[in-house]
Amino acid sequence: MQKYDKLDKIGEGTYGMVFKARNKETGEIVALKRVRLDDDDEGVPSSALREICLLRELKHPNVVRLFDVVHSEGKLTLVFEFCEQDLKKFFDSMNLQPIEPSLVRSLMQQLLKGLYYCHSRHVLHRDLKPQNLLLDSSMQLKLADFGLARAFGVPVRCYSAEVVTLWYRPPDVLFGAKLYNCSIDMWSAGCIFAEISNVGRPLFPGSDVDDQLKRIFKQLGTPNEDNWPAVSTLPDYKPFPTMHPSISWSQIVPNLSSLGRDLLQKLLVCNPAGRMDSESALKHPYFSAIEN
């Protein structure tokens, strides 16, 4: 670890502290993620291993780069490319001033490009949220934190005992669906799209699973066997009162163009089978049409 000068603490990640540091030889600024090893019986935590082995295979401008893994004195440190901020901090810095429509579009396009790259390699992120989307100084967006989500069930708490947010989870997962596919990330991408256009106001800020589902159904309508076959067979399914959408999308996301709203509605589909995938989303006219 003598290779790096630690500068500031940036935050706490899924499994330990994150520091900004400088590589003494090259002067390059990096982010150091220290892996906490508190359980003797587990060795290197699976979440860290998952992040290490996935990021080792992923190289894309919209996916955070893992430069190195350093092992010294019984500690493990992951060395990442450094990004100035995450999407959440960017929202906070805007002080509710609107974000330029071209920037909204560029951020969403980058998010989808990163997802398309991961999905085409069969990697699901499963825990997308503004805090996990990093932004560098030239507003390049990068997917980060592949460590939390696991193949069999998304954990409810991360290491700091902070409850993992439900806001970006699709209804199928909230109903206990275990077989995830890329559609889980596409729902989260939709929620984040709406949030970007509203400068950081979350779309469905539920307080618990019930409240989360209610908020979703209030906007999209309660699903039923007709529009979502076999929904009632999901492990944690329970019936909700039939609600019909009453608030128009132009009220929910007033800053989005009609094409943007169209894309959003194709992502926010309760039935995962009907949700748009990343490849088609990138081809949506929202990204190609010249609007004004």
């Binding site: 003797d40 019986d41 587990e42 060795g43 290197v44 699976s46 291993l49 998952r50 290490i52 082995c53 996935l54 080792r56 295979e57 893992l66 893994v69 092992h71 010294s72 019984g74 493990l76 085409s120 390699r121 069969h122 990697v123 696991r150 193949a151 069999f152």
Partner: protein, 279 residues
Amino acid sequence: MAGNFWMSSQYDQWVFERQDLLRFRFEDLKIYSEEEYQKLMIFWANFIQSLATEGGNSSSTKTRMQVIASAIIYFKRFYARRSFKEVDPFLIACASVFLASKVEEHGLLSMSKLIQNIPNCLKRWPSVIFDLSSKNNGLYDAEFILVEVMDCCLIVYHPYRPLTSFIQDLAKDTTIKDIDQIEAQCWKVANDSLRSDCALLFPPHVIALSSIIVGVELMGREKDIKAWLPELSVDFEKVTDCVNTLFTMYKLWKTFDERDQIKPLLDKMPRVNSVPSQC
């Protein structure tokens, strides 16, 4: 992760030429003949399999095979980069199983449970003694070093997936009887390929196809693939090389009486610090 082999770290960094392997093993081949080296590798593959089976969680056999296969390949990759005298192979074998069970999301195998299980796994080789009970820390460090020496390339592409699609393709020929018997035999060969250098020499689809060729030959049913085989577009030179590697391994394995022969081989093993230092 299924992903794409051609864009993987495995294709990029872990498929070698035969001469490379001889060069990597130069230190160890001063002590062992090449044949002895291959016998040792068969023994460790068997030991790893026994560790993963005995200590593993009871879940489907297929998942377990994935863990075993990855663990054996971690072990092989490690000793392609380091010699036996640098880190105790027993320690790396244990660390490989431990690491693979986490990477393959097989459910966590606790380190202490794994260690407790070692004597059980060694019953097949009564002359072999290895006691890790005092070396918990050793296993802890071995895991780190294993990750480091493998340059974090923990995702391994195995022949099983391409094997399944080859068999599906073959099954389109409805004149072939008992295709499931053929499939079972070929899976077995693919598992056995872990006892050879195949995984360090060939891409997974080459090993898969070679397993089919060897599998049907062992069953005396070469005729069944005669029409199908030439239709495929693969590097047949590589496939032939891989088939020969598999047959050589079977020949060696047959003559290798592990119970009696392993002790003298292990006795020749250079002494190492049981607790690995940074390599």
